[in-house]
Symmetry: C2
Subunit: 134 residues, 2 copies
């Protein structure tokens, strides 16, 4: 079921500082920041030859990464996004196996405009997993 | 400087349980466990089309992931490994930029038999970074 890693997301408290570090210290190719108010984050993409890293900074009052940054004030690894061919098939299989889909348990539209769901980290050894149909 | 993501490493308290979850619930292609006593871990590789995930379980007394699992008893995202063409050039550039290499500050031989170094998570917004020359 699991396909490519679409991205690895890192939460950071200060996006401008993180951009400078990834660009200058690590020599990475970083995008311009994009504010995604409907997702509660500002995001920068780091394009790598085989996948990408996303740097996330909270945006607005109810950012989904605010609680994570309260627990990890310096930032940290937030989630891994895997691609699947058919997210409906994936969702039904996951639920049938007892895995919990976060939120309403239904699909949403993700930051890339594609259908996504997030799986409960308690069902996956502390790792927050995003599943995206590409 | 940063090349491909070679792997994303997840620390887990119970490798057999994690293997069952990744294989059966997530439908991933998981390898047989490999004990790496000189690295203090037992590792399982999850091969994905564009990169891999490594599940790490502590092995022996002084496992480098023991402290992480004390803080995160359920497990969690442990590090990201990026490839570089020339790790000496990378190390010198990183040091010149003020980034700290963990341990002696020098290169080691990693779990894949290639030269590696780990960078201090405090210099990279809470993310532990491994750099590997492939």
């Amino acid at each position: 079921m699991l396909g490519r890693i679409n991205h690895v997301a890192l939460a950071v408290p200060d996006l401008a500082a993180a951009v400078a570090t990834y660009r200058d210290t690590l020599g990475a190719d970083v995008s311009q920041p994009q504010a995604l108010p409907e997702h509660g984050v500002t995001v920068v993409f780091i394009e790598l030859p085989n996948t990408k890293v996303e740097l996330l900074e909270p945006l607005g009052e109810d950012s989904p990464i605010a609680a994570f940054l309260e627990k990890n004030p310096s930032g940290g690894m937030h989630h891994i996004c895997y691609e699947v061919d058919d997210i409906i098939v994936a969702r039904d299989h996951l639920k049938q196996q007892g895995a919990r889909v976060l939120g309403s348990g239904e699909l949403k539209t993700g930051a890339h405009g594609k259908p996504v769901m997030f799986l409960h980290p308690k069902d996956f050894f502390g790792t927050l997993i995003e599943i995206e149909q590409v």
